[in-house]
Amino acid sequence: MQTLGRLKESPSQTAGPYVHIGCVPNFSGIPGVYPEDLGTSLCTKDAKGTHITVKGTVYDGTGTALKDALIEVWQADANGIYSAGDPRGPADPNFTGWGRSPGDYDTGEWVFDTVKPGRVPMHDGRLMAPHISLWVVARGINLGLQTRMYFPDEEAANAEDPILARIEHKNRVPTLIAKAEGDGIYRFDIRLQGDDETIFFDV
């Protein structure tokens, strides 16, 4: 019999405590190698849609904030179009939808200024609710963690979201829904363990 000859994906290793050296060197105290760190903004002020701020903190199983994590986000523009690779494009030229944050050095809180994403269809045409994809790496995390943030003011869309519908334990769904913190500000804390452990995805 022939073999498929397919390669194995390179196994992950932890990003370690010094991921900031490689990914946000200006933040980490290595100025001058790159003019600026990548991913500090997802859009310009001219981006269409509702401008919002998303913030959060990653907590370990003891309730301690991670101060050495790196958070990346990826989202569609206000019309639900991704800025690259989307066959329905093009997206808003003032919007990349990708951001990267090391979090605050003292508190670990990360912040992204962006626009509220539109709805993106599944391949079968069903619409997902507006969401932001997040990826968390840090010392002690052996494989980057994938999750999604949904919006508290999108109850109808959330109720028909095919991904949320897959989740058996409905009492865990709120871990994926941000909390409104005033005008256009959303908080999405991520808990790695505990009764309110955030849902992570294998996707």
Binding site: S12, Q13, H123
Partner: protein, 251 residues
């Protein structure tokens, strides 16, 4: 006209192959103590990739400076060089079907030749090298190739068990074209005995998977009287072609 069957090259951009999570390290690994409180306990929710995972950010070479892939020079004072064993690290970024992946951002970071990182939280007694920052980046060429020059990083002790030492290693961050291909890993060096004592390496369950992260000395690519070379290929998740996907027109 636009039928994906109209030509023989599989169109890219389809669903991601499921990730073999047994090939990757588990979240919880007792001998890597930091993982104990940072490992999710509940099963991750699986679903086939959607556009949210099949798209991803694209980076173009205009972000790159001329020294971005030269760690010997990119932090040094003019005319100065980083101290250490001069090496070239090169390889390809491939998908699981072995296709070179062009235009991908690859970032790398490492300790200096003495095993010291340039970082506020780093307390190892080995000295900083004033001419070594420890970060670099590049974008793969049309065949998926990348190359950078650096000094070989030193091994270093770290606070885990009483006497744990990291083998010499270089961290890699790789973007695919798809968000779901995002990967961070580490490259080790052929022949380093510390590889087999390290609890972070040991998080990987399968020895063959560990071997996938060990770069061989590549004498053919060595530059005589200048730098040795190590070859390190990186494999990111594959994707199905888009021929037979259940997509509606225009979606």
């Amino acid at each position: 006209m636009n039928s994906p069957m109209a030509h023989n090259r599989p169109p890219e951009g389809g669903s991601l192959f499921p990730r073999d999570r047994e090939w990757h390290p588990p979240a919880y690994f007792e001998q890597y103590k930091t993982s104990i409180a940072r490992s999710p306990k509940r099963a991750p929710i699986s679903f086939p990739s959607t556009l949210s995972e099949e798209t991803g950010p694209v980076f173009t070479t205009d972000i790159l400076g001329p020294l971005d892939n030269d760690l010997i020079l990119n932090f040094g004072e003019p005319g100065e060089m980083a101290i250490g064993q001069r090496i070239i690290v090169h390889g390809r970024v491939l998908d699981q079907d072995g296709r070179g992946q062009p235009g991908l951002l690859v970032e790398f970071w490492q300790a200096n030749a003495g095993g010291r990182y340039r970082h506020k939280k780093e307390g190892y007694m080995a000295p900083l090298d004033p001419n070594f920052g420890g970060c670099g980046r590049t974008i793969t060429d049309s065949d998926g190739r990348y190359v950078f020059r650096t000094v070989k990083p030193g091994p270093y002790p770290w606070p885990n068990r009483v006497n744990d030492w990291r083998p010499a290693h270089i961290h890699f961050s790789v973007f695919g074209r798809a968000w779901g291909q995002r990967l961070i890993t580490q490259m080790y060096f052929e022949g380093d005995p510390l590889i087999w004592t390290c609890p972070i390496v040991d998080t990987i369950p399968d020895r063959a998977a560990i071997e996938q992260l060990i770069a061989p000395l590549d004498l053919d690519a060595t530059i005589p009287m200048d730098s040795r070379a190590y070859k390190f290929d990186i494999v990111i998740r594959g994707r199905r072609g888009t021929w037979f996907e259940n997509r509606k027109e225009g979606v």
